[in-house]
């Protein structure tokens, strides 16, 4: 792995930043290379590639942050960036009532990258397009109700070089690869979509092209079409207030995601009040609040192999960690940054601050928010369910600004009667209150059925930052759930 940025430029930028009256300064060069392909009904409708790189300088002046960035990488441009960073930091400093202090972090000098077997950005395009065309064709079951058969591939690398005034020198390259298929079936005003291995452009991992090959779109495409057509004929999810529901990982991952935002320490301390919102998990509730029952243990794990939220160092130069957020039901931790960890008296950041690119300041972002597996086999869980439902594959999500009241819609559901799956249901949905919901879990499936999913499009911050996060879970059963909310 080689850095594209010239070390002389990094040294110049850091030196320039330090020439101002600053308490701390870091220089972050980032480069993103990406590739996106989209085939619809056998025709290529998207073949785009993108490269972006630039340099950002962050300063702490009079207890306030300032940040400026540009994609023009020259000494003249860096002079302007440094000057503007100092100017905005000083303007921030005028407003500070509680000056920022940073948690300590050891100095790191390291060069790391995601382990891959095949570089997803140098694989022959023809080969990938051919797979997508074949997958789209494989989804064609010759039924006029099929309106769209999509097959997609996405990959990108995020290469970061971070130098800080404390001596840290990190060179990190993260690879992300993903893909999926979906079929849209329409009959009159009845619209159904089915996706594999997940909705919204498929599934993603920090991995090389081999991950895309493992998904094997051509093999799974016919199933997407078959189920989309079956859903047109299926009964609606009935409205019930006391349903027993087994939620599979490609939906439970988004439950973990939306609830996972509540563990972000900037939200808990009101730093995101103006946009993303705050959190019902207030600081005084740490070690007190029963987020769930004893079956529920949740980690923020930036080290999980292939997780979409996996990295080596965050964008403040803090080493990746596995942090326990909920321990047997009890709230015990947060995802934190160097700015927020001291607010709770913690000595070290959890290493959760990442930025979209060179032109953004790091924010606290989820890593991999994973539910610890239980000891049920999935088959035993179904067999043990007398009157219930199985829900899978997220399609709609909404949660309040405290992360309490949620409502989700899924692509597909199944009816379970006397321990057997007896049919499909369409447009399943459920709603609830976060701690009530997690306290109603009565069975968590084992490691064997644990699956990781990636959410590549998590938005936060102003200016907006889209970040990729991972979520792993095994199928989990919940009691007394309100379902069928969106039924007309």
């Amino acid at each position: 792995m080689s850095s594209i940025i010239d070390e002389d430029i990094m040294a110049y930028a850091l030196e320039k930043g330090q020439s101002y009256a600053v308490q701390y300064v870091d220089v972050k060069w980032m480069s993103r290379d990406s590739r996106s392909l989209n085939v619809k009904n056998g025709d290529l409708e998207g073949n785009s590639q993108s490269k972006s790189q630039g340099i950002g300088i962050k300063m702490l002046v009079d207890g306030g942050y300032g940040f400026a960035a540009s994609n023009i990488i020259s000494r003249e441009s860096i002079d302007k960036i440094a000057n503007r960073a100092f100017k905005v930091a000083r303007a921030s400093g005028r407003t500070m009532k509680r000056p920022i202090t940073l948690a300590e972090e050891p100095v790191h000098v390291d060069r790391v990258q995601t382990p891959i077997r095949k570089d997803p950005l140098t694989q022959p395009l023809e080969e990938t397009i051919s797979i997508l065309v074949d997958a789209s064709k494989a989804a064609d079951l010759d039924d006029p109700r099929i309106k769209a058969r999509n097959a997609v591939f996405s990959a990108w690398t995020d290469h970061m070089v971070l130098w800080t005034s404390e001596g840290t020198r990190i060179d990190q390259k993260i690879y992300v690869t993903g893909g999926g298929v979906d079929t849209l079936a329409v009959q009159g005003s009845n619209v159904e979509r089915r996706s594999y291995p997940a909705s919204f452009r498929g599934n993603f991992a920090t991995a090389g092209y081999e991950y895309f090959e493992e998904i094997d779109l051509v093999s799974i495409a016919p199933k997407a079409t078959t189920e989309a057509l079956q859903l047109l004929e299926a009964p609606h999810c009935p409205p019930r207030n006391d349903a027993t529901v087994i939620i599979k990982p490609s939906q439970l991952m988004l439950q973990l995601h939306e609830n996972g935002h509540g563990f972000e320490m900037d939200r808990a301390y009101d730093y995101e009040a103006a946009f993303a919102g705050t959190s019902f998990m207030k600081p005084h509730l740490v070690d007190e609040l029963m987020f769930g029952n004893e079956l529920i243990t949740i980690y923020g794990d930036a080290t999980h192999p292939r997780g979409l939220g996996t990295f080596y160092y965050d964008h403040e130069g803090v080493q990746a960690q596995k942090t326990t957020l909920v321990d047997e039901g009890r709230l015990v931790g947060y995802l934190s940054s160097r700015e927020t960890a001291p607010l709770k008296g913690w000595e070290r950041s959890s290493g959760s601050a990442r930025s979209l690119n060179y032109a953004r300041m790091p924010l606290i972002r989820m890593t991999n928010i994973n539910l610890k597996p239980g000891d049920w086999s999935y088959d035993e869980m179904v067999e043990d369910t007398k009157d219930g439902y199985i829900f899978d594959t997220n399609v709609s999500w909404s949660i309040d600004d405290l992360r309490l009241s949620f409502q989700f819609g899924m692509e597909i559901g199944w009816r379970v009667e006397n321990g057997e799956i007896t049919g499909l249901i369409k447009k399943p949905s459920y709603t609830g209150i976060t701690p009530q919901f997690w306290n109603s879990a009565d069975a968590v499936a084992d490691e064997k059925s644990f699956q990781m999913y990636g959410t590549p499009n998590c938005g936060k911050g102003e200016p907006g930052q889209v970040m990729y996060t991972g979520h792993g879970a095994s199928p989990t059963r919940f009691r007394n759930v309100r379902i069928g909310v969106v039924q007309e």
């Binding site: 073949n47 972006s52 303007a91 009101d270």
Partner: protein
């Protein structure tokens, strides 16, 4: 030339991007022609200043400048795109797009780039909002909020953005457009952690800054009001939606009006062009060339096709579907049926980004006065489609939900989740009145609405 789109860039502050931009786009077009490709090239400048505040002080302060290039190549039905911020490596950009094109099978629908069309240049610039002025807006907001409640926690955003684009294609298009605008938002939080009140006010603005102090006081009053809450059961209520709530619904109306959904049968517009979908009191214009009325303004779309002010819902009747050149070719058979609504890039789609709802004659206060027993919703939050075909949405109230009793506000109500279709909410007969006072938001400018019924499905902001 009545207006020079380049005059919008402060060359002293950010440096002069135009020599690099002009040389770059012209070189890319030349290289494409030399290689026998049709091409669309754009050079783009984006300047952003963003001051975020929270816990009553500035927490993030960005100052960003970006120069980027986009290239789309086309030949014999094959197409590929590439974009970059590596301004010194345009040969690399060309190679990337060329590699993409050569690996692409032809698309039978693709007719290439739209033909050139000219249009009048209009000044779309806003008042310049400096770094120090944005910091001053934070101090003014905090001071004003503390007049209402000394323990208030204040948060918000003061930001400014300037964009410039030059778009060329091998059909002969060579157009320039620039625009700028500002945004202010203030949030107020009061009360102990376990029982808080929240308020918020926001607006986009172009010429005259809003009164930061007035906004901060109003947000703080809402936060104080919402410290004490009534509990309402889910159900259908007569509602007055403030402009901040209406903008959320309109975003979904606008983004649900795309050509792909219309033709694939997944949109509320499918099979309904020309139909009376909404109440006759609802008229919506898309006004990308009216800077005093709409915030998201541009002279040309992402393909260099001139934008156009037009009506898309007239007295409740759906009259217009937007197209970019690809969807126009695919669904209408002619790339030049593109309407000037393209997002840009490669098959980027088309959208309505500059909606303005025709206002009525009543103030919010007058609309509230006409409600016997209902709810006043100041804003919605985390709205998502549950059923695109029917315009089905779910979301929550946030930053101010009030009970209206006998024409008066009668106390704040615990937030509710709604599960409702905007088609049903705006259907003929359900719109009692449209307000007279509009507020400008990112993608639309809208007044308040008085609706006969709106469906709330559960209670929010509660541990129970």
């Amino acid at each position: 030339m009545s207006w020079d789109p380049r005059s919008i860039i402060d060359l002293g502050e950010f440096g002069d991007p135009f020599p690099t931009l002009d040389t770059g786009v012209e070189k890319l077009l030349y290289m494409a022609r030399e290689k026998g490709y049709e091409a669309q090239v754009s050079g783009n400048v984006r300047l952003e200043g963003v001051t975020r505040f929270a816990v009553s002080q500035v927490t993030q302060h960005h100052d960003l400048s970006t120069l980027s290039f986009s290239l789309v190549l086309y030949k014999d039905g094959r197409r590929a795109s590439a974009n970059t911020t590596l301004v010194d490596d345009l040969v690399g950009l060309m190679k990337q797009a060329e590699d993409g094109l050569n690996s692409s099978p032809p698309n039978k629908f693709d007719q290439g780039f739209p033909s050139p069309r000219q249009s009048e240049l209009i000044d779309l610039s806003a008042k310049v909002w400096t770094t120090d002025e944005r910091a001053d807006s934070v101090i003014a907001s905090v001071n004003a909020a503390e007049e209402i409640n000394p323990d208030v926690i204040v948060a918000g955003t003061s930001s400014t953005v300037t964009t410039f684009s030059r778009i060329l294609n091998t059909e002969g298009t060579d157009v320039e457009s620039s625009s700028s605008g500002n945004y202010f938002k203030v949030n107020a939080i009061v009360g102990p952690p376990e029982s808080r009140g929240y308020g918020q006010e926001e607006t986009q603005w172009r010429y005259d800054a809003p009164s930061f102090e007035t906004f901060a006081r109003e947000a703080t009053r809402t936060a104080v009001d919402t410290l004490t809450l009534k509990n309402f059961k889910p159900g259908e209520y007569e509602v007055v939606l403030g402009p901040r709530a209406v903008t959320d619904l309109m975003n979904f109306v606008q983004f649900g009006t795309g050509p792909v959904g219309f033709h694939e049968g997944t949109s509320f517009t499918s099979d309904r062009l020309g139909d009376q979908i909404f109440d006759e009191k609802i008229s919506l214009h898309d006004l990308p060339r009216s800077p005093s009325k709409a915030f998201f303004t541009r002279l040309f779309d992402g393909e260099g096709v001139p934008t156009q002010d037009r009506v898309f819902v007239h007295k409740g009747s759906l009259e217009f579907i937007p197209y970019d050149s690809f969807t126009a070719a695919k669904y209408l058979g002619d790339k030049n049926e593109a309407t000037g609504n393209a997002g840009g890039g490669f098959f980027g789609g088309a959208f309505l980004g500059s909606a303005v709802m025709e206002s009525g004659v009543k103030s919010v206060r007058e609309q509230i006065a006409e409600v016997g027993d209902g709810l006043y919703v100041k804003s919605f939050w985390y709205n998502r489609f549950t059923d695109r075909r029917r315009g089905g949405l779910t979301g929550l109230t946030r930053n101010g939900l009030y009970h209206i009793k006998d024409g008066e506000l009668a106390g704040a109500v615990r937030n509710l989740r709604y599960t409702e279709s905007f088609v049903r909410a705006l259907e003929p007969g359900n719109v009692i009145s449209v307000g007279k006072d509009s507020r400008m938001f990112m993608f639309n400018t809208v007044p308040s609405l008085h609706l006969g019924r709106y469906r709330f499905s559960s209670v929010a902001h509660s541990m129970e």
